[in-house]
């Protein structure tokens, strides 16, 4: 195994481990942030997964594209320099993507907080309240059973006999 292949293998291994570590950190800590930003927990979970998938694609894609080392590596120190340069670039890209991710999430959050913002200024004055409705005329209703008195009862209504129908054979009074 020559020096270049060894450099490639170390580069790939370190880059992938770093990418997975950052992605897991994002997945774990971004969830709390997204729950607050999106209110809907299912939506937050879905957005979080999609963001992490996008992060994996972008970062692993960049690692693959930037793999090639054009210069010759005659000794260990030049291989180390090339490896450090490549890994440094990967770390910078990871950092950039991380802050971009935070920026997008904070935009979500800010938007939701603005949607719930109460009016920023107090009213200059309030509409005068309409007049209360007038109390009804007449005396207030009597309490049902005043303390110490027997409950008022209504006098018995005399049973009235049904009025007899006028007899047809009764003579009419004289006009």
């Amino acid at each position: 195994m020559d020096l270049k292949l060894g450099t490639y293998l170390i580069y790939l291994a370190v880059s992938i481990v770093l990418t997975v570590w950052v992605a897991r950190t994002l997945l774990k800590n971004g969830q709390v942030f997204l729950d607050d930003a999106l209110t809907d927990e299912r939506l937050a979970k879905s957005v979080n997964h999609l963001l992490v998938v996008g992060f994996y694609l972008l970062n692993l894609g960049y690692v693959a594209v930037a793999l090639k080392i054009g210069q010759r590596l005659p000794d260990g120190s030049s291989a180390m320099e090339a490896l450090a340069w490549k890994l440094g670039l990967v770390l910078l890209v990871l950092g950039g993507l991380h802050f971009f991710n935070l920026f997008v999430l904070s935009r979500f959050r800010r938007r939701r907080m603005l949607d719930q913002l109460p009016p920023p200024v107090p009213p200059t004055r309030m509409m005068p309240a309409p007049y209360p409705p007038l109390p009804p005329y007449g005396m207030s209703p009597r309490p049902a059973a005043p303390h110490g008195y027997p409950k008022p009862t209504s006098p018995p209504v005399p049973q009235q006999a049904p009025r007899p129908e006028t007899q047809p054979d009764e003579p009419l009074p004289p006009q």
Partner: protein
């Protein structure tokens, strides 16, 4: 909780009509309704408001009974629009409120200059400023 805002604007002034058209063309988080100030509809809805006062200065009535005039009226209108809430919150801060007041005063001066003399009240849009 405000769920509707009624804007009493001066239908007789070009600047006010332009402002009304701009407000109406934006997406609204809280619905805005426009009623010409001093009209029969405005009198019927708000008998407690003085029509001369509402003609002199933009007046916004919230459905919770709050009345906003002058720069507060503009800020509450911006707050009702989608995408302008951040601006409304910034303008309401104590360090930017005087700037908002001056902007409203400048707009009122333009309005006074473009409407016939003796129209509206003497303060013509700057009663609160």
């Amino acid at each position: 909780m405000i769920t509707k805002l009624t804007v009493l604007y001066d239908a007789g002034c070009g600047l006010c009509r332009t402002a009304r058209a701009w407000l109406a063309s934006r997406a609204q988080l809280v619905p805005l309704e426009f009623v010409p100030a001093g009209s029969d509809e405005a009198r019927r809805r708000y008998p407690a408001l003085d029509p001369a006062e509402t003609l002199a200065d933009i007046t916004v009535v919230a459905d919770d009974g709050g009345i906003y005039t002058g720069d507060a009226a503009w800020i509450i209108c911006l707050w009702a629009l989608e995408g302008y809430r951040g601006l409304a919150a910034r303008l309401a801060r104590p360090d930017l409120r005087p700037t908002a007041r001056r902007m409203v005063a400048a707009a009122a001066a333009v309005r006074r200059g473009t409407t016939p003399q003796g129209y509206g009240a003497d303060c013509g849009g700057t009663c609160d400023v």
